[in-house]
């Protein structure tokens, strides 16, 4: 089978639950065509002990948001997310190249 694929960037943002709406508005404003979001658990290890974000109760929930787009759009979103929220919120941003089948959707 010979399938044509196209290169795009997948931006993954792991962030505090309270940021979800802001991230969606930001991604849309910068030209993303869509996104997926789901809740995750995780933690970090620092000198003063382990810090878990477990999604326990209401207070410690974490989301992972994925946006697939042209690289320029993904980079712009990443930069804005870090500028606006990186200082005061728990945020991780990753960028990876992916292959998509229908380029018009991204």
């Amino acid at each position: 089978m010979n399938v044509t694929t196209h290169r795009r960037c997948q931006l993954t943002i792991i962030a505090e639950y309270v940021l979800e709406e802001k991230l969606i508005v930001l991604a849309r404003g910068l030209g993303a065509h869509g996104y997926t979001v789901h809740e995750v658990r995780g933690g970090s290890f620092s000198a003063d002990g382990e810090r878990r974000r477990e999604g326990a109760g209401e207070t410690d929930r974490t989301i992972e948001m994925k946006v697939i787009s042209e690289r320029a759009v993904a980079e712009q979103i990443a930069q804005q997310v870090l500028d606006q929220f990186g200082g005061n919120f728990s945020v991780r941003v990753l960028l990876a190249e992916v292959e998509v089948f229908r380029p018009g959707m991204y």
């Binding site: 505090e16 309270v18 802001k22 809740e39 003063d48 002990g49 878990r52 477990e54 999604g55 326990a56 109760g57 209401e58 207070t59 929930r61 929220f85 200082g87 005061n88 919120f89």
Partner: protein, 308 residues
């Protein structure tokens, strides 16, 4: 008097967490339980409200809003100068204590019912009214006397706790006892059982928060014990003498002043004052004040209410 099963399920959750048990509630179950509890409290309050003229509620309602708004301004200097927090941290913690805890209110109501102590039926209205003012006051404090912007106010007002409580009250008020009858098996009869389940989960959350207290420091822990003690007693006194509430109503008003929010306030303050350390308010409210109220302060306030 037997020990309240609600308290025991909460204690079980805490113990399970401290023992590193693998007991965990799926997120959707927790979410569904909290929606159920908020709506059930709102509905019941609304139905009771439909039996009496709204004018009876006006004075307590106005005072509740005022008290919720004033509380952070009263607590702020202590947080700033005695506990030693920064301006933003002190504002954030003050907002948690200005707002209220729905579950503490539900436990206090169940505690009174178990002992046959009646309370005014409009108390859930005061609960709904006291969710937001403290948070808005906290934002104002953080912005050094400026005003809370529209987006913050919208986030506070659209918080699910307020939507469900206030929405439930309006629905209950419209449908009255007759309309409520078919809903009662779910929202009335099952309430205590589902509250017990919710408290089991809350115990697990609280057990996981104890580690944060070490970082919060002894001064904040002391604040989180003294504040509900003083504010609770003040609330019982004001409820009884100023508002003319019954002993049960005065106790519930005391509980409203004594409790601290760990659902609405953390989310709202996180967005409104992102520079504040979010762990301080949640840890103090959830890991100290909530269990202190459940195990010690509510029985104390009931004793005090009986004496006035």
């Amino acid at each position: 008097m037997p020990i309240d099963p609600l308290v025991l399920t909460f204690a079980l959750g805490v113990a399970a967490r401290l023992a590193r048990s693998d007991l965990r509630f799926p997120e959707p179950v927790y979410e569904a339980l909290s929606i159920y509890l908020l709506l059930a409290i709102g509905l019941k309050g609304g139905v009771e409200l439909s039996h009496q003229p709204l004018s009876h509620v006006a004075l307590p309602a106005l005072f509740a809003v005022f008290a919720g708004f004033a509380l952070p301004f009263i607590l702020f200097p202590a947080l700033r100068h005695v506990v030693g927090l920064t301006r933003t941290d002190a504002s954030s913690v003050a907002a948690h204590y200005g707002s209220v805890s729905v579950v503490t209110f539900a436990i206090a109501t169940a505690y009174l019912q178990q002992r046959g102590i009646p309370a005014e039926s409009f108390m859930p209205v005061l609960l709904a009214l006291m969710e937001a003012p403290g948070i808005i006051a906290g934002v104002i404090l953080a912005r050094s006397g400026g005003t809370a912007g529209a987006p913050v106010f919208r986030e506070v007002a659209a918080n699910k706790g307020i939507v469900l409580l206030a929405g439930g009250i309006v629905i209950g008020w419209i449908i009255g006892s007759e309309g409520y009858a078919p809903l009662k098996p779910l929202f009335g009869d099952l309430f205590r059982g589902l509250l017990a389940l919710y408290l089991l989960e809350l115990g697990l959350v609280v057990g996981g928060r104890f580690a944060d207290l070490r970082r919060a420091g002894m001064r904040l822990v002391t604040f989180a014990v003294i504040t509900p003690l003083v504010m609770g007693a003040t609330g019982v006194g004001l409820g009884s003498w100023l508002l003319g509430l019954s002993a049960g109503g005065a106790v519930l008003f005391g509980v409203l002043l004594a409790s601290a929010s760990y659902i609405a306030a953390p989310a709202a303050m996180r967005m409104a004052v992102p520079e504040a350390n979010p762990a301080l308010g949640i840890s103090a409210a959830l890991a100290v004040t909530f269990p202190f109220n459940v195990f010690i302060n509510i029985p104390l306030l009931v004793l005090l209410g009986g004496m006035l």
